[in-house]
């Protein structure tokens, strides 16, 4: 039995080794650096200790950082609500049959496999002033000026549109997979009892879909909280701070300003917030799983 366990650990060891070296070690390292003042470009480029919480104390009053977190959360909630609504409607429509359905579905899958940085490039080419057709179309037909290089509000919503374009298919396909796996009996009894479509949807479909919905919310929320690539490509975080999400803010503080100590503290807070949100959703998932048993 012992030798059997040994074989098991042997098989697991490379995975554990890599995950410790590239996951745990960086975590403890960033935790450690977060306690110091460290700027390699400063007069004194060594690690300076001035109390455990000095960086964290600064961050609590760092409006730009706090705003970037608030912006990330706002962005996640906005995109999630749009994608969930759209994705649910599209998934429902895919349950019925109509001409060219499988073709439409295949095209709908396409954005999912495109790299975020390429999505950023596609949207840049499509919407940039002077080149992209979108500003021209909006100007000529609707008299609307689109220039997100100058307009903060437009920049934020442009990112939202890009994210919806990129990730609604994920929501659609996941919900469709969930919908197709639902048992048919409740629907039949509801129809016999004379329930209308709206009642069936609110009292049967939605409650039965809750586990799948939570999975979708969980994954989309985690992914949109860490958005960097496509934003970096499209707006670079600007204009001003309009699209500076937490990931971009940390990148700028660390690699442009070289605030290693402060940047580490930011990373830890960012991780902490992500973990808390993650944990809350995970607990909801587990609690629901227990109720069902």
């Amino acid at each position: 039995m012992l030798s059997k366990n040994k074989t098991g650990w042997l098989l697991l060891s490379p995975t554990i080794l890599i995950l410790v070296l590239a996951g745990l070690v960086p975590f403890f390292y960033v935790l450690y650096v977060g306690f110091f003042q460290w700027n390699p470009l400063a007069v004194d480029p060594s690690l300076q200790f001035d109390g455990f919480a000095s960086n964290y104390r600064r961050l609590i009053f760092d409006e730009i950082f706090l705003e970037s977190i608030w912006r990330s959360i706002k962005f996640s909630v906005v995109t999630l609500s749009i994608e969930l609504t759209l994705g649910f409607l599209l998934a429902l429509s895919l349950l019925s049959s109509f001409p060219l359905k499988s073709f439409f579905r295949s095209v709908h899958t396409l954005p999912l496999v495109i790299a975020p940085i390429v999505v950023g490039s596609i949207f840049k080419l499509f919407t940039v002033q002077g080149l992209g057709p979108l500003p021209h179309i909006l100007k000529d037909y609707f008299g609307y000026t689109l220039n997100y290089g100058l307009n903060a509000e437009q920049a934020f919503w442009m990112i939202v549109i890009m994210d919806v374009w990129h990730w609604t298919p994920f929501v659609t396909l996941t919900l469709l997979a969930g919908l197709s796996a639902l048992p048919q009996d409740p629907y039949e009894s509801a129809k016999i009892d004379g329930a209308n479509n709206f009642q069936i949807f609110t009292y049967i479909t939605i409650p039965m879909m809750v586990p799948v919905l939570i999975v979708v919310i969980f994954i989309r929320l985690m992914d949109s909280l860490k958005i960097v690539d496509e934003v970096w490509m499209l707006t670079g975080g600007g204009p001003g701070y309009a699209t500076r999400f937490t990931g971009i803010h940390i990148w700028k503080e660390v690699f442009e300003k070289r605030y290693y100590g402060l940047g580490s503290a930011m990373s830890i807070l960012y991780l902490y917030i992500t973990i808390v949100i993650c944990w809350v959703l995970y607990s909801v998932m587990v609690a629901r799983g227990k109720n069902e048993d």
Binding site: F104, F126, W251
Partner: protein, 284 residues
């Protein structure tokens, strides 16, 4: 009643048609841009499919033949392929261990591997950068700006998802089969070769294709942890933005080329993409 249904059908088809146009239009425009000269791109956007008449091939030859983008492409291919191979082998071993041996704490290990996928990479940029360039040092060799560094690093987000995907499949292979083989005197290697790999083949294929795709698409870590020798194609794309006076045609060409594997894979993984992206939590 019947006409109502027909109307619903026409309406749905129309809406999906519109959606398809919205999905494809930006991609179509990128293809147009990649085939045009800077002069042709000047002024009012021309949406007609001019690539049937004339393609400005220089947009492609300039970065990929005269420029360094062929190196980037080569690096991307090496990194994504090696990472996919490594992840598949390691994940098979780890999943077999998690599925067949009652190891103490294996549940927590499984959960811990998953958390690695959820963490925002931006939070790990600085420590990884410092570890890669100064701490993990072997003589003169550092992991910074090497393909090996990227190959190992991408395991952090590919392994968890690969283990999750394979776990369902290996759990589904009856234990009695391996036990029968052990009684016949087969060693672990034979069990993998004769039993696990053939039975899990479709799952292994999907796992390696999706790992390849995620590694191919990764940008943030590659851009921070490489500078010259190990740049991948996504980092090359971002270089277009920082230089002044972007050459849109070349940028579109590079974006198009970097999208090709994704397009090829789409047909192979389409059915499994939901399971892949949701870690198998929702069967696609």
């Amino acid at each position: 009643m019947k006409t109502k249904k027909t109307f619903a059908k026409i309406g749905t088809t129309f809406l999906w048609g519109l959606l398809t146009i919205i999905t494809l239009f930006p991609i179509y425009w990128m293809i147009l841009v990649s085939t045009r000269t800077p002069v042709e791109l000047f002024g009012k956007p021309d949406l007609s499919p001019t690539f049937f008449e004339k393609v400005h091939w220089k947009n492609f030859t300039k970065p990929f033949i005269d420029g360094i983008y062929s190196d980037y492409l080569f690096n991307s291919i090496i990194v994504a392929t090696s990472n996919a191979a490594l992840v598949t082998v390691l994940a098979l071993m780890a999943t077999y261990a998690l599925s067949r041996f009652k190891l103490p704490g294996s549940e927590s290990i499984f959960f811990w591997t998953m958390t690695n996928r959820m963490a925002p990479p931006a939070a790990f940029l600085l420590p990884l950068f410092l570890l890669f360039s100064t701490v993990f040092k072997f003589g003169d060799f550092t992991l910074f700006d090497t393909k090996i560094g990227l190959i190992l690093l991408y395991c952090v987000f590919n392994l968890p998802f690969a283990i999750w995907l394979l776990k369902g499949i290996i759990d589904g292979i009856p234990r009695e089969l391996d036990e029968a083989m052990i009684v016949d005197g087969a060693n672990l290697f034979t069990i993998f070769r004769k039993l696990i790999i053939p039975l899990a083949a479709p799952g292994i294929a999907v796992t390696s294709l999706l790992s390849f795709l995620f590694a191919w698409n990764e940008y943030l870590l590659a851009s921070t942890l490489t500078s010259v020798y190990a740049r991948t194609i996504p980092t090359g794309l971002s270089e277009f933005v920082t230089t002044t006076g972007t050459n849109w045609g070349t940028m579109a060409a590079v974006a198009l080329v970097s999208m090709l594997p994704a397009l090829l894979f789409l047909f192979a993984v389409q059915k499994h993409i939901v399971a892949g992206l949701t870690f198998g939590a929702v069967k696609g």
